[in-house]
C-alpha cells in the first residue's frame, strides 16, 4: 500500500518565495540609509556621466580674469579654479575620471580575481597552494606602497594607474574568492552535485559561483572607496591622471595653494572625494547587511 504522504502545511513561512538576489534587493529598498546614499551616489554618478550635457560651462577653458572666484560667484556657483575654469563643470567632468578610477580597477579585480580565486579554490591542492603563495608575495607589500611603486614604475598616466590599482586589488579579491570557494567546495551540496555526474565547469557555474559572488561583491563594494582614494592620492602625488584632465585628486593638488585665498573652493575636490568615498563605504555596509539575511 503506497501511502501518499502529502502533508498539509500551514507551518512554514508565509512570505512568498523570492530568489536570493531579489530578497537582497527587497531588503536594500527598505533600508532608508541605503536609499539616501544611493540617491547621493546616483546624483554624483549621473552628473558625471552626463557632464557634457549638464555642465554649465567648459571644463577645459577658463579665463584669467576670473581665476579663483569664491563660492557663489555669478555664473560660477562653486567658483573657479586657478585658471578661471568653472568649478561646477570641472567637478562634474572630474567625477567621470575619479569615478572611473574608483570603479574600473575594482571591476577588473572583481572579474579577474574571482576567476582566479574560483579556479584556485575549486582545484585545490598544490595548484591552489602555488597560486596563493605567489599572491602572498604581493600581499607582502603594503597597498599604498605597491600602488606608488607600480605607478612609479609604469610612469604616470591614467591607464597606468588603473593597471596599478587593479594589480593591487586582484590578490585581495582572489583571497576572498578562494577562501569562500574552498569553504563552499566542502559543502555537501557540491558532493551531491558531483554525485549527479556534473562536471567541474557546471558545478562551478551553478553551485559555486552564486555563493562566491556574494561575499566577493561585498568585499569589492568596500574596495570602491579605497580605489578612489588611492587613485586620487596617486594623482595628488603626480603619478596619476595628466592635466588638463580634471580629476578630483589632481584638482585638489593644484588648488592646494589657493587654500588661504579661497579655502572653500580649494576644499571642494577633497570634499567630493570624501563624500563619494563615504557613500561607497556606507553603501557597502548596507549591501553587506542586506546580504546577511539568509534564513
Amino acid at each position: 500500500m503506497p501511502v501518499s504522504l502529502v502533508i498539509p502545511v500551514h507551518a512554514v513561512v508565509a512570505t512568498p518565495s523570492r530568489s536570493y538576489w531579489a530578497m537582497v534587493w527587497h531588503q536594500l529598498r527598505r533600508d532608508p540609509m541605503a536609499l539616501f546614499i544611493s540617491a547621493i551616489l546616483l546624483l554624483i554618478i549621473l552628473s558625471a556621466v552626463f557632464a557634457p550635457w549638464l555642465a554649465p560651462d567648459d571644463a577645459y577653458k577658463g579665463s584669467m580674469l576670473h581665476r579663483l572666484l569664491p563660492l557663489g560667484s555669478e555664473g560660477h556657483l562653486l567658483g573657479t579654479d586657478e585658471l578661471g575654469r568653472d568649478m561646477v563643470s570641472r567637478l562634474m567632468y572630474g567625477g567621470r575620471i575619479s569615478l572611473l578610477m574608483g570603479v574600473v580597477p575594482v571591476l577588473a579585480a572583481f572579474v579577474i580575481g574571482t576567476a582566479i580565486g574560483l579556479f584556485a579554490g575549486y582545484v585545490g591542492g598544490t595548484v591552489n597552494m602555488a597560486i596563493m603563495r605567489v599572491l602572498d608575495v604581493f600581499y607582502a607589500f603594503p597597498s599604498v606602497l605597491l600602488a606608488v611603486a607600480i605607478s612609479g614604475a609604469l610612469g604616470p598616466g591614467m591607464s597606468n594607474s588603473l593597471i596599478a590599482l587593479s594589480l593591487i586589488f586582484i590578490p585581495q579579491v582572489v583571497r576572498v574568492a578562494e577562501s569562500v570557494t574552498t569553504q563552499v567546495r566542502k559543502l555537501d551540496y557540491i558532493e551531491a552535485a558531483r554525485m549527479s555526474g556534473a562536471g567541474a565547469f557546471s558545478i562551478i557555474r551553478v553551485h559555486v559561483l552564486g555563493n562566491v559572488l556574494g561575499p566577493v561583491f561585498v568585499y569589492a563594494t568596500g574596495l570602491l572607496s579605497v580605489s578612489m582614494i588611492l587613485a586620487s592620492g596617486l594623482s595628488f602625488l603626480g603619478l596619476g591622471v595628466k592635466p588638463p584632465e580634471p580629476e578630483w585628486g589632481l584638482m585638489l593638488n593644484t588648488l592646494r595653494s589657493a587654500i588661504y585665498t579661497n579655502p572653500w573652493v580649494a576644499a571642494l575636490p577633497g570634499a567630493l572625494i570624501f563624500i563619494t568615498s563615504i557613500a561607497f563605504n556606507l553603501l557597502a555596509d548596507s549591501v553587506r547587511s542586506a546580504m546577511d539575511i539568509r534564513r
Binding site: Y60, K61, G62, M64, L65, R67, L68, E82, L83, G155, P156, G157, G238, K242, P243, P244, T254, R256, S257, A258, I259, Y260, T261
Partner: protein, 509 residues
C-alpha cells in the same frame, strides 16, 4: 648669536663636498657659502645685473700669444676652514679632483656636477705657488664665465677625513664666508659665520644660517607662517596675498631664467614654419600669466630679459596680438577645421618649472584660440631631462610625435643663455640645441664671440645672436622667473641679486 632659518625648496641639502648638486639654485646654499671660485659672480647687488669679479684669483688674463692659455694669479694669505693654506697646488688638486679620472682624489659625483660646466678646459699647470695656467681646447673668450661654477675645496681636509668624500661631506672645508657646523641629511644644515673670511666686505651679517629643506611649497609657506623658518624660497603665487596680509615681505628680482616652449625645427615638425612660431608667440597674454603667478614672474619677450646687455633690438616685437597671430596662422594654412596639432612634453613640476601645470594649461588654452591644438606628454622632471638631452630627433621624442619641450632655462651667462641653443655644433647628442636649429650666420657669429676678448664687443655680438634668435622665434617665450623669496619681519636685510647665485652673507636679522 643671530640665527636665520631658511626654508629651501630642495628635497635634500645639496652636496657639501665642493661642487653642489641639484642645479644652479644650489650654489647659494652649499656652494658659494662654504667655498669660493677662482672667478666669482657679483651677487651682493640687486639693482643691476652682476658681473664677474675676482674670487680666489685676483687677476686673470688670456695669453696674447696663445689665446688658448689663461693665466690666473692667486690670492695670497687665504686659509681653508681647516687652517691649511690655499695655493696653486690646491687649485691643481681641485682641477684633478673633477677632471682627472685617475687621480686619487677624483670624485665622480663632483665631477659629474661641474665637468659639463667647464667644458673648455683642456689642460692646466702650476706656474708658481700663486699662479696657475689653464689651457682651453679652443680659443674661448667666454671661458671666464665658466669659472664661478668651479669651487675649491681643501685637499688637507680630504686627507684628514681618510680620503673619503662621504666623510668630507659631513665635515667640509673651504675658504668661503661660512663654515658648516652641522649636517643632518635631508633635514638641516647649519652654516656658521667664518670670522676669518678673506673678503672683509663680505663678512656674514648673520652668525648662523640654518638651511631647512622643505620641497613642498605649501609646507614651506606653512613653516614660514608658523614661524618655524624666517625666510623661504619660491612661495606659491596663490599664497602671496595671505603672506602680505600677515606682514611678510616678498622680495624678487629679475632672474636669468626663462620659461619657454623650445620648438623642434626638424623636418616633419609643424613648427618648421616661422609664421607658426611667430603666431604662437603672439598668442600669449603674458600679463595674464604674470597675474596667474600673482606677480611672481615677468613677461618674456625673448630669451633674455630686456634689461640684459645681450638683449639687443630684435625686429620681431613679441607681444599679445591675437589678430596678428590668427592672420599668421591663416597664412600658414591652418583654420579652425584644420588646426595645427602638436604634442609638447612637459614636467609636472620641479625646480625651475614654476607652476608647470597651470601655466601649461594656460598656454594650451591660449594656443587653442589660434587653432593650435596642443596635447601634453607629462613626465617627471628627471625624465624630461632625458628627453631634452636626447634631442628632438631622438626616437623617444620624434617617435612619439613630440615637437616641443617645455623646460625652464637658466640664462645667466652667454653660453648657457644663448650660444648652446643656437650653435649647430651643439645639436643633440653633442649638446642641447634641442630643436636642431642650424643657421650658418649664427654659427659664424658664435665663432666670433669666442675669439673676442673685449667684453663690450662680445656683448654686442651676443646681442646680434639674440636678435636673430628672437626674429626666428626659436622658442615660445612666456615669462622669466623672478626667484621670489618671502621673508618674515624678523629679517632685516636681504639683497637679492639678479641671478640664481645669491649671497647669503647679505642676510641680516
Amino acid at each position: 648669536e643671530t640665527v636665520a632659518r631658511y626654508g629651501i625648496s630642495m628635497a635634500d641639502i645639496p652636496l657639501t663636498t665642493g661642487q653642489p648638486d641639484r642645479g644652479a639654485g644650489a650654489y647659494q646654499f652649499t656652494g658659494h657659502t662654504l667655498y669660493d671660485p677662482l672667478i666669482a659672480w657679483e651677487a651682493n647687488i640687486s639693482d643691476r645685473p652682476g658681473k664677474l669679479v675676482p674670487g680666489l684669483a685676483t687677476n686673470w688674463k688670456v695669453d696674447p700669444k696663445d689665446n688658448k692659455k689663461w693665466l690666473f694669479t692667486l690670492r695670497k694669505g687665504v686659509k681653508f676652514h681647516d687652517g691649511s693654506e690655499f695655493n696653486a697646488d690646491a687649485v691643481i688638486w681641485n682641477l684633478d679632483k673633477v677632471l682627472a679620472d685617475k687621480s686619487p682624489q677624483f670624485d665622480a659625483k663632483q665631477s659629474a656636477q661641474v665637468r659639463p660646466r667647464i667644458p673648455s678646459i683642456a689642460s692646466y699647470r702650476k706656474v708658481n705657488d700663486y699662479a696657475v695656467e689653464i689651457t682651453t681646447k679652443e680659443v674661448d673668450a667666454l671661458f671666464p664665465y665658466q669659472l664661478p661654477w668651479f669651487l675649491i675645496s681643501s685637499p688637507a681636509q680630504w686627507e684628514k677625513m681618510g680620503k673619503d668624500w662621504s666623510q668630507v661631506a659631513m665635515h667640509p672645508s673651504g675658504t668661503g664666508p661660512f663654515k658648516l657646523d652641522k649636517l643632518v641629511p635631508r633635514e638641516r644644515a647649519d652654516l656658521v659665520k667664518n670670522n676669518d673670511y678673506w673678503d672683509k666686505k663680505r663678512l656674514a651679517k648673520t652668525d648662523r644660517i640654518v638651511l631647512v629643506p622643505i620641497p613642498d611649497a605649501m609646507t614651506r609657506v606653512n613653516a614660514l607662517l608658523n614661524g618655524q623658518v624666517d625666510l623661504i624660497e619660491t612661495p606659491p603665487p596663490d599664497v602671496v596675498p595671505q603672506l602680505k596680509s600677515a606682514g611678510f615681505k616678498l622680495v624678487q628680482n629679475v632672474t636669468p631664467h626663462v620659461w619657454p616652449y623650445h620648438f623642434s625645427t626638424l623636418p616633419g615638425s609643424p613648427w618648421t614654419d616661422i609664421r607658426v612660431r611667430k603666431a604662437a608667440n603672439l598668442a600669449i597674454d603674458r600679463d595674464a600669466v604674470v597675474k596667474l603667478m600673482n606677480g611672481l614672474a615677468t613677461p618674456a619677450v625673448g630669451q633674455m630679459d630686456v634689461t640684459s646687455p645681450w638683449f639687443g633690438k630684435p625686429a620681431f616685437k613679441i607681444r599679445y596680438d591675437l589678430a596678428a597671430a590668427r592672420a599668421l596662422m591663416a597664412q600658414a594654412g591652418y583654420t579652425k577645421e584644420h588646426p595645427l596639432v602638436a604634442k609638447v612634453i612637459i614636467a609636472q613640476g620641479g625646480t625651475g618649472q614654476m607652476l608647470s601645470l597651470p601655466m601649461n594649461e594656460f598656454i594650451q588654452q591660449s594656443l587653442a584660440e589660434i587653432n593650435i591644438q596642443v596635447s601634453f606628454e607629462v613626465v617627471e622632471l628627471e625624465n624630461l631631462y632625458l628627453h631634452w638631452r636626447s634631442g628632438a630627433a631622438a626616437d623617444m621624442n620624434a617617435g612619439k610625435g613630440i615637437t616641443a619641450i617645455n623646460l625652464g632655462y637658466v640664462t645667466a651667462d652667454p653660453f648657457y643663455g644663448i650660444t648652446r641653443f643656437v650653435d649647430s655644433r651643439y645639436v643633440a647628442p653633442n649638446g642641447v640645441n634641442w630643436g636642431g636649429y642650424n643657421n650658418p650666420k649664427v654659427d659664424a657669429l658664435v665663432d666670433k664671440i669666442r675669439t673676442t676678448f673685449n667684453t663690450r664687443t662680445q656683448d654686442g655680438l651676443l646681442s646680434k645672436v639674440h636678435e636673430i634668435m628672437v626674429d626666428d622665434a626659436l622658442m615660445l617665450w612666456v615669462v622669466h622667473d623672478v626667484n621670489p623669496h618671502a621673508l618674515s619681519p624678523k629679517v632685516k636685510e636681504f639683497v637679492q641679486a639678479q641671478h640664481w647665485f645669491q649671497d647669503l652673507t647679505t642676510l641680516r636679522m
